[in-house]
């Protein structure tokens, strides 16, 4: 059984089919690269999976449970974490506080417990480990809004990992980073995946995706066009055609495009 399985997912925004009839299965342990030209519906698909957008039709199963109607927070509790394409830190909190809050998910799941407890120790330790891991410890005490984009991207990832997910959906984590930064963050994603975390990576930086993904899924115009090993998929004529006009595709250039 796949870890995540979506069948026939569709959603329409103001008459436009953003995602139409998508079937997608994410296997345990894989690092699935989700690519496609701008407007292909990748971000919408991620938002459907995390519950930020409700599907008009279709079903989503996570680890055997039907989560199609589950709200975003319930999906997160089941182990579905995400990062946002445009970073969304809690702006008036420090970096450490941002990640600590996520690390305290066992407490914050129960409001009464959250009201009674003040101890920050365990969550702060866990957050400290993650910051170490993400190599952003030096920024721990800084206000999240004042950090450089590269750090904010890592903050997003740290927050997502802190809820101990089984599946991590990354929406263009490399966008806006320079080549060195992008490569290092991609390495980190690959390492997390090797350690057992299943990852879906939506990304425009094809070079990095091809380098670290264990499988590729190509979306075009709201539908899945192709799926398979990276080199195979990229050789297909229809995939190449879909990318024609995407002049920067394949160059690995960082960009802040919308998906």
């Amino acid at each position: 059984m796949s870890l995540l399985e979506a069948r026939d997912l569709s959603v329409t925004f103001g008459g436009v089919h953003a995602v139409r009839g998508v079937d997608i299965a994410v296997e345990r342990g894989e690092l699935l690269g989700l690519i496609g030209p701008n407007g292909a519906g990748k971000t919408t698909l991620v938002r459907l999976l995390t519950g930020a957008v409700r599907a008009d039709a279709g079903t989503i199963r996570f680890d055997g449970h039907d989560i199609t109607r589950a709200p975003a927070y319930a999906r997160a509790r089941q182990g579905l974490a995400m990062t946002h394409q445009l970073v969304r830190p809690f702006r008036d909190m420090t970096l450490a506080e941002n990640v600590s809050l996520a690390a305290a998910h066992a407490v914050t799941a129960r409001p009464l417990a959250a009201l009674l407890r003040t101890g920050r120790g365990a969550a702060r330790r866990r957050a400290g480990e993650l910051l170490e891991r993400l190599e952003i410890t030096e920024f721990a005490g800084r206000g999240a809004a004042t950090l450089p984009l590269g750090v904010q991207k890592r903050l997003e990832m740290g927050r997502a990992i802190a809820i101990e997910p089984r599946l991590l959906l990354l929406d263009e984590p490399l966008a806006g980073l320079n080549q060195t930064e992008a490569a290092r963050l991609a390495d980190l994603i690959a390492t997390l995946n090797r350690e057992g975390l299943t990852v879906v990576l939506v990304e425009h930086n094809l070079a990095e995706v091809l380098r670290i993904a264990t499988r590729l899924l190509v979306m075009v115009e709201g539908a899945v066009l192709a799926s398979g090993a990276g080199s195979e998929v990229m050789r297909r004529g229809d995939v190449r055609a879909a990318y024609l006009g995407e002049s920067r595709a394949g160059t690995g250039e960082g960009r802040g495009a919308r998906g």
Binding site: A76, M82, L101, T108, A109, A113, A114, L115, A160, I163
Partner: protein, 283 residues
């Protein structure tokens, strides 16, 4: 003279409770409410009617807070899907709805309100009770800020959707904020009803809501000590400067405007600036 001071103490303490309660909702959790007086009124009416029906004072107070908190839960629930500007207007609407409803209810005394509410305590007793209640709410507010709930509130205030991706049931937290904040107002309302012995609908109008908001904002939205200072300051101001009384609304309005214009984080923000300046300049 002594009676005057005691009543001033009572009203100051009531304002502290109201402002701290609103601050839990709007300051901590970021849910702007423009109808806080409705919950103050609910507590006052509930406690007054219960007392008149023969219930002991303490039970009436507790039930008044409970009824206000329950109404807060209902309003919170009804407004869960409404955000920011829509929420501000909806809560303002709740205030008008409360007033429009109460004015027309014969069993609530209509325009004339409820009179002959028993007065079980001496003026000194009321002052002690009110100050005790206010201090308890200061303690609650400080604890709330330090608790994980307070931390979640900050996150919800900053970015609700991002908070929910971390497994936080933001709706339930918002309801908690509403219930805690409105119960505080209801408790204050119960004391108010028994202190004055007479309540009329107009005591809980939009201007009252704005006055509470003014205390929160002048003190510094989100800061317990700031809000405490704001409530005390705005209670004392008309008393200290007699002329202020005639221009009370003009000054409240101008103060709201001036604080928003030049120091949106209020007295607390100014205090932080001063502290920082003192620290950085070699003394």
């Amino acid at each position: 003279m002594e009676a005057y001071i005691l009543s001033l103490v009572v009203f100051g303490a009531l304002n502290v409770m109201l402002a701290l309660g609103l601050n839990m909702i709007s300051g901590f959790c970021g849910q702007i409410s423009l109808g806080h007086a409705a919950f103050y009124g609910t507590g006052a009416y509930a406690a007054a009617l219960l007392s008149i029906s023969g219930l002991p004072f303490a039970a009436s107070l507790a039930l008044g807070a409970l009824v206000a908190g329950a109404l807060g839960l209902v309003v919170g629930f009804a407004t869960l899907r409404v955000r920011e500007d829509f929420l501000a207007i909806t809560t303002m609407g709740v205030g008008f709805l409360f007033l429009g409803f109460v004015r027309k209810q014969e069993w609530l005394g209509g325009e004339f309100g409820v009179a002959q509410i028993p007065s079980p305590l001496s003026p000194l007793g009321f002052a002690v009770l009110a100050v005790g209640g206010a201090l308890a709410m200061v303690a609650l507010s400080l604890h709330l800020r330090r608790s994980w709930m307070g931390e979640v509130f900050r996150a919800v205030a900053a970015d609700e959707d991002a908070a929910s991706t971390l497994g936080v049931d933001t709706a339930r937290y918002k309801l908690w904020a509403f219930v805690l904040g409105t119960a505080c107002a209801g408790f204050a309302g119960g004391i108010y009803a028994h202190v004055t012995g007479l309540i009329v609908p107009d005591a809980f109008d939009f201007i009252q809501s704005v006055t509470i908001l003014a205390m929160v904002v002048v003190g510094g939205i989100g800061s317990t000590w700031g809000v405490l200072a704001g409530a005390v300051l705005l209670t004392l101001m008309p008393e200290l400067f007699r002329f202020v009384n005639d221009y009370k609304l003009l000054i409240y309005g101008a103060l709201l405007l001036a604080v928003m214009r030049w120091s949106p984080s209020g007295l607390a923000g100014l205090a932080a600036l001063v502290r920082r300046a003192l620290r950085s300049s070699p003394a």
